[in-house]
Symmetry: C2
Subunit: 369 residues, 2 copies
């Protein structure tokens, strides 16, 4: 089967850890051929969640079996709380009971939770096995499946345990997005908006023009967005795989975003929604600090406001500062943010006074979307 | 302070992950200077066990503080059972409660258990922080501190969870070996004997001649052994960091050894003792298969027999084959061993019939050391 006519390929150049992201519509069934093409172990393990399994597991299993793979599927409940050391421990047990060897391929079929958990398992089971990502949410297609971050949560913070571990390839099928709940689409659009703000004004304008079509899951728009975001993220992570420099710009919106998620105990707001609120907060902080033109602030706030978001939960305001200090992006007690200076440009990590962020949060308390 | 006159340096060339092993007697107090020299984060965390802490913690803490480091020490109970996901979870909590950031340095002060656990924590805390090894047992100085293997145990098998993660440097102080219990010295000598068998007949002869002196903890002999073993292991892992080829020769004695440890529930036999018995078993298997001269078998058995080892526990014979099949070195149900073909040479991983190993184990049941 010729794959090349139907897919866009974004390469992530990371030396010996380089890999390709394949993007198309209706391409799930090529996974078996890709396993063969990449000469990956044919003892395969699919890690997925119940929701995704009911929709897409059978086409993936069939494709793998047709290519001569053995398939063992581990289905977990959906939800962020599965990104835990406890769940990881249970998955290790399932793999060992099944006799899965170090010459195996773990395939993440699902959104960010599945990808982060499966990636962490792939990085640490028997000191690392082959890994493939099949992201089925917009958020994971534009963001978490690119760059090799894997991780699980700790009750004291999100993604506190993890590893950098690159997949052999990523297969992004935008046709899977048609079954995505609207809130999940919004989460992905949060990251799409982010890429325009941090790196590319032209793409920011594309997103403005096409937001309504994206919200209706139009394939061509989503495919263009996935391709553009992956290209930008590949550019960034290939220059800074382990987040010691440039890669930190991807954290725009995430300092406040993570803290909001944490203050809501990971259920009031989804990650992408929290990042949308976080970008708003960090843009307002940049405004308070006089780092960005009013006009750009207005355009950013307008675009974010045109994404249908749930209101900011009141409990999010409690102990928010403490949550921000515990974030990985905290350095020696100061709260480190990425701040926009224009549409298409952000600062390096910048220490922001707690009082500025508290001020912004008071503003947001009364923010009407 | 000039370090160079008092230490031997073995370089482990692994590209951007290259590092040095510093070997000497009475050199613990240079750790702070080395942290500075390597420009590592000065927020340091020492992970050690109670026994080692009572002997060497204060000199290490003092050295770090003198170099301007902050020091947070986590002391765990001694013993293999601490290499668990549960213990790792508790350590993550301690690090988070203390506010340890991703810009920190984790220092393993102790033997293989501490090194493997601390290395796994360093590899996975906040997706990886800087790591330093100070091995204080002969086994960890000659083996586990070289090559970046980190790992924790699962109740279904040893080291089933882990990562390859290289330290910034290793500081091996052979003066710490004078406080080592005799059984621990024996464990290290098991690996020392292994290096002679797999790679270097001349070193095999050196070990024969100097075994008694080593058993009396004579510094010059131990230092020579540590240096020779590290040099050989560095040679091997630099050619095969992730154990896809040459590095597998280091597993000589380990297929049967791991299974013996597991069958004894990790307490009847220590790792190095199990490897000694494992090397004996795998040498006898090579003999049964006609792969090695009788003369070489005799010399190998003689050297192993001159190391004071505890008897083989009877419970080890139960479910040994099953344990071997679950080992990471199992491929598609066959039992894979490294077999010696002469003193100084071994096979690549070789599938061995279970009946051969059962036969060997029956022989060993009546083996008199």
């Amino acid at each position: 089967m010729s794959i090349s006519n139907r897919v866009d390929i974004v390469s992530v150049p990371l030396g010996e850890r380089s890999y390709d992201i394949l993007i198309g519509a209706g391409i799930l069934q090529v996974v078996g051929a890709l396993i063969e093409k990449h000469d990956l172990p044919k003892q395969t393990v699919i890690i997925t969640d119940r929701k995704v399994a009911s929709l897409y597991l059978s086409v993936v299993e069939t494709s793998l079996r047709r290519s001569g793979c053995s398939v063992f599927t581990i289905t977990i409940p959906p939800g962020e709380k599965e990104k835990s050391l406890q769940r990881a421990g249970r998955v290790y047990t399932q793999l060992l009971r099944r006799g899965i060897s170090r010459r195996s391929t773990i395939i993440a079929l699902g959104g960010g939770v599945v990808g982060d958990l499966a990636g962490f398992i792939a990085a640490t089971y028997q000191r690392g096995v082959s890994f493939v990502q099949i992201p089925t949410t917009l958020l994971s297609q534009v963001d978490s499946s690119v760059g090799g971050k894997t991780g699980i949560n700790h009750h004291l913070g999100k993604n506190m345990i993890g590893a950098f571990y690159q997949p052999a390839f990523v297969l992004s099928d935008v046709a899977t997005l048609k079954t995505l709940p609207p809130r999940e689409l919004v989460c992905g659009l949060g990251e799409v908006v982010k890429y325009g703000i941090i790196l590319d004004e032209e793409f920011f304008c594309f997103t403005q023009r096409n937001l309504a079509r994206a919200l209706r899951s139009q394939h061509t728009v989503l495919r263009a967005m996935v391709k553009a975001c992956c290209t930008m993220k590949a550019f960034v992570v290939s220059r800074d795989e382990r987040e010691s420099g440039l890669r930190t710009i991807l954290n725009f919106g995430h300092t406040v975003g993570h803290a909001l998620e944490k203050a809501g105990h990971f259920h009031s707001l989804k990650h992408g929604e929290a990042v949308l609120w976080g970008m708003l907060a960090e843009t307002l902080a940049a405004q308070l600090l006089g780092m960005i033109r009013e006009e750009d602030v207005r355009r950013i706030c307008d675009l974010i406001s045109s994404v249908p978001m749930p209101p900011l939960p009141q409990e999010a305001f409690r102990s928010l500062a403490a949550a921000m200090r515990l974030d990985k992006k905290a350095v020696e007690g100061k709260i480190i943010c990425i701040l926009p200076t224009r549409i298409g440009g952000v600062t390096p990590p910048t220490a922001v006074e707690e009082s500025i962020l508290e001020n912004v949060l008071q503003q947001m308390r009364h923010y009407e979307l």
